[in-house]
């Protein structure tokens, strides 16, 4: 395993890699087939490299020490990945389980088509956050861009800041909670009153995400608005005067 700087701790293992000197292919190959007893991996100098830690299939902790490019932690299973910086487009896309945390901001299509697990973005998330979501949870400390949760089928998005235009366009059974302003709703999305079940779910998600407002206090679930599907686009219906 040339190029890997190994730092092993008594607890059986932190390994670190430097992407400035080690090819990404080697790092990902190690993460796929070379982990052994390793439980923690640190990746230095990511400098916007794409596809870091994609296709993970083990419950290890991975720290990406800097800004990641596209597809960071793509198709993640079981791993706990933290980006200590910003993430490029499609972070945690198609994630199945595990956790991905972005300390800075996430670019477009965060958690696109993700089936399970949790994505936490401490800063803002770009457009199309949660597009095509299939069951995962997303918690964003900042705001989300336009077209977020477009065609989202299952799962939940919690936005502590604002949402842009066309939120939840063509929503299926996924649910959105927004604390700030929603610039506009997408087709078939509507505001609904919070239920007790929503309050419980929100509290759990916010606790899991570990996010606090600018005064350091936890967010109050009742300060969020619920957005869900009106379910009027589920069936072809001439008389409903659907525009498409």
């Amino acid at each position: 395993m040339s190029g890997a700087a190994m730092v092993t701790s008594a607890a059986g293992g932190l390994v670190s890699f430097d992407l400035a000197t080690t090819p990404l292919r080697e790092v990902n190959q190690f993460l796929h087939t070379g982990l052994g007893q390793t439980t923690r991996v640190r990746i230095d100098n990511p400098d916007g490299a794409h596809s870091i830690a994609v296709g993970m299939d083990a419950p290890v902790q991975i720290d990406i020490a800097g800004n990641a490019g596209y597809y960071a932690a793509g198709m993640n299973k079981h791993a706990s990945v933290t980006v200590h910086g910003n993430a490029g487009p499609s972070v945690a896309e198609n994630m199945m389980s595990g956790t991905v945390r972005v300390k800075g901001f996430a670019s477009v299509a965060a958690a696109a088509s993700a089936h399970g697990g949790l994505l936490v973005v401490e800063g803002d998330a770009g457009l199309r956050c949660g597009i095509s979501l299939k069951g995962a949870d997303i918690v964003v400390g900042g705001s989300v861009g336009s077209f977020s949760m477009f065609m989202a089928q299952a799962g939940r998005l919690v936005v502590c800041g604002d949402a842009g235009d066309a939120l939840g366009d063509s929503l299926y059974e996924a649910v959105i909670y927004v604390r700030g302003e929603v610039k506009s709703l997408g087709a078939d999305a509507r505001f609904e009153p919070l239920t007790e079940a929503d309050i419980v779910a929100l509290a759990a998600l916010l606790e899991q995400a570990g996010l606090h407002d600018k005064d350091g206090k936890p967010y109050e679930p009742r300060s969020f608005k619920r957005i869900a599907s009106a379910r009027e686009l589920y069936h072809w219906n001439v008389d409903a005067n659907q525009s498409y």
Partner: protein, 295 residues
Amino acid sequence: MCGIVGLLIKKPELQDRLGEWATPMLIGMTERGPDSAGIAVYGEPVADGLRKISLHAPAGFDWQGLQRQLADVAGFEVRANHAVLTTSADPVALRAWFKLTHPMVHVLSVGRTIDLYKDVGTPAQIADRYGMAGFRGTHLVAHTRMATESAVTPENAHPYTAGEDWCLVHNGSLSNPNSLRRQLEPLGISFDGDCDTEAACRYFEWRMREGDSLEQALNKGFDELDGFYTFLMGTSDALAIVRDGFACKPALVAETDDWVAIASEYRSLAHLPGVKGATLFEPQPERIYAWRAQQ
């Protein structure tokens, strides 16, 4: 099918680092555009009454011969397939003259501050060929292209220019470029090639000719130009970026007290001095961002 980069130096004493810092930015976008590249650099303005004209000709062209044919030559620098002519002659008349007498010479840009280089090759080859690492100036706009036409030609590379000291690079795909061309040609706007980006460029050229400011032209563009785009533009003293409403094509801005840098991917910004402490953000759709250079 493209990578875009832009760099604006805020502090005059750092203007001689422009090319040194921008070259790895361009090369960082090689995978997005391996076939051809273009660079527009904005440097010291020439004296009033003079203009700089960037020219491109195929390899082996007799530049000396051309120089002898020209009048009012205040400067003539040749490098590889490129020359910069500094002249007091009327640029419009010169364009017509080139078309008539030297059709294989392409006028790439006209202005008092802009020099423009476009050629076929990898970004690294082009940077080396034209000495990009030594460029000095206030700001720079560059582009790497993934070509689809069988003739990978310099004329189809970006940046495109219009008027004076104005250039445009584009990442994305316009869906109504032909209608735009058919609308503009009868108004006297002429096209060099058939790349969709040129349609956008000529549209802005027309709007600004009609008296719109750049901002006004871009705002009209949101309705008239259809498709996906991130446009990065240079004017004599500014760098500007705008994205369409869907914002499907990437763009990232990094800003420090010393510089503002723009690229399609963070990879191209990672080497810049002070980037770790820079303000980093993605431009919002349908909003115009502009930064002015200190002269």
